[in-house]
Symmetry: C2
Subunit: 438 residues, 2 copies
Amino acid sequence: MDSTHALDLRSWVESSDDPQTDFPIQNLPLGMFSRDGVRPRAGIAIGDAILDLTAAASANLLSNELADVVGDCTRAGALNPLLAAGRGPLRALRAEASALLSADSPAGRRASGRVDLLVPQRDARLHLPAHVGDYTDFYASINHATNVGSMFRPDNALLPNYKWVPIGYHGRASSIVPSGTPIIRPVGQSKEEGADAPVVRPSRRMDYELEMGVWIAGGNQLGERVRITEADELIGGLSLVNDWSARDVQAWEYQPLGPFLAKSFATSVSPWIVTLDALEPFRTNAFRREVSDPQPLEYLSSTDDAERGGFAITLEVLLTSQTMREQGVDPMLVSRGSFTEMYWTIAQLVTHHASNGCNLRAGDLLGSGTVSGPAPDSRGCLLERTWKGTEPLALPTGETRAFLADGDTVTLRGSCARDGYRRIGFGEVSGTITPARA
Amino acid sequence: MDSTHALDLRSWVESSDDPQTDFPIQNLPLGMFSRDGVRPRAGIAIGDAILDLTAAASANLLSNELADVVGDCTRAGALNPLLAAGRGPLRALRAEASALLSADSPAGRRASGRVDLLVPQRDARLHLPAHVGDYTDFYASINHATNVGSMFRPDNALLPNYKWVPIGYHGRASSIVPSGTPIIRPVGQSKEEGADAPVVRPSRRMDYELEMGVWIAGGNQLGERVRITEADELIGGLSLVNDWSARDVQAWEYQPLGPFLAKSFATSVSPWIVTLDALEPFRTNAFRREVSDPQPLEYLSSTDDAERGGFAITLEVLLTSQTMREQGVDPMLVSRGSFTEMYWTIAQLVTHHASNGCNLRAGDLLGSGTVSGPAPDSRGCLLERTWKGTEPLALPTGETRAFLADGDTVTLRGSCARDGYRRIGFGEVSGTITPARA
């Protein structure tokens, strides 16, 4: 662990001292923000502010190489040039930003109090961090796969390939939206059990999915595979992902080629990329398989990944109905889970994805799949949480929810805590269901 | 039909008179070409040459509006700006190019013989016509779905949703490559029947899939649906697509979320976009359903689509083994089919895709799915053509093929012919299998 993680490191940005902040100086997540309609530029979250990297570059507070890449990001309106530069420049930027924001370093003393470098988060609009070339969604929680499988295939819950293949599918990139974007209830085909014909109507089984998103850095050429020991070099960082799902549409359309319109109407992403370097103290072992489970195949296996491939990230789902909002009732915690419950590590997802020579590009997004633990209150979607709607949630207002209603706001949060380290967080990704369009 | 389709229309580019050419003046397909390492620019195929649209714009032979868009395409290195402009500008460009290349129009007489406007196709490198934001692959041939279904699910060949839902799935955009790109045999997991564990090895069941590709023009906003009567406005044109498939990988990985690594290693696209306007004379009725089949649901139904939603395109697959090439043997015709065999029209594919509010963007590519007719020699992939490898093809050299061997070249061709009109063609998309990388 380098000095950017030190517990006693402090910033001259006072709000970052707040023990509740997701963004102490030990975090330094990357995002794209804008203010007053000016074109989006690159920034780093610090306390309740954003370090404006373009302003820092203009003030000659960044090295030339990084200042150039920051300029490229502004021109691109996205962090793709920085992600394309790869892990080295990402690490270098972390080190420079840490020094610049430190209360005690020479660079920090020069920058201290320069309000022109900071933008209050409340004044900024946050955008998608990167243009997503391709979005892939995995299925890496064995609890999720088992639960969903037992609902749709009672005799055959976990398919024979699950413990061998990191199952995933291509998702829709065009409909990825930043946190806060309203989610329009989709219209689609569904078919009631026993009905002769499907109906076309607004989805009646709107759901969220709590996922982590992996942002690709660098990339590989078409035809090149990625060794499991090299996979981390292709991971820029992580965000929260809500993979909204219309379960009635999904049930009718998904065979034999997988989910399509049940997912492609919207996927929400949190605005900050928490870098893999920031997450270093929170690494943990990969999922501990049962003795009867197969070991990962050779291409998916390394000692390092087994020992450090997991990330101890606590994840929460909060729900606020329109009535709760009107009555001033706090969001309700619907579930709390851990990213350590995933059967496959993110390095395994990257390596598997490229194992056929598929080229991953900087800015590509890999969803982990719904993060569900073994306990009912750690299940990461309503389909599981309410067991296909048979055990509705009771809201504090007396309302119940089998699936999402119009006006419901779903907020996902994530954070990492460990003795001897500052707690860091992911911020949040939030979306409110709006009625289907006529 | 406007005058750009007239049978007696002739160009001053003599090679376009050749009755065998795919590119008479009645076609005018769009593509991106480069020469001598200069950056790619927009062009139109005419006979054995390319009309250099940048040169035409520089010579003030295009209207200002179109000259601007052509410049944007050069800057983008792709036709996306032209596709984004939508059907109106595509039609205007067709009209201007037709006049410019005509032997008899005033504009054509001015341009006639200006070799600076033309580049021989043999001297040009052809690129992907557009940056593909999202690639979607459909499954619109009922013959293909029935054949493949009967192999994998003998009791349940055609799933109950097939005749209601235009089944599709998201594909991989990053690995879409232009014609001529070598196709590296992918490595992947597969599992032999009865084996205890999967193996990781180069695919032993490499296949092609003969498809048409639909290029999106204009587009729709997230949350907006597209009426079936408006769908044509979102279709810029068509190309040939080879959706290479590793069948052994596919069989093991595809449940429950659909094909993934079995497809994402490469998809080849022909370099010319034959515009919907060029295809106007070759429109025909949509697939004639059986009396017992359901009618398309209302959102997928219009009189116009039923009467004119089909396109009479003849499609061919040609195979050349390395030995055939070494012995100078001509490519072997493996199958010949018709795009009229598709159960769903391309307008239905577009409308269904956007029916949940999913935003389609200019340059998005929609694959039709494998084009297979009812006759064995009209089946569009080896899986069907050799019936899962049980009826291998006999090549003229005495070789046999159940699936593709290293060194095999697969070439797809397409063309349209109708009494009273010039035959137009799509050119070809070609790819040669190279050995898996160690």
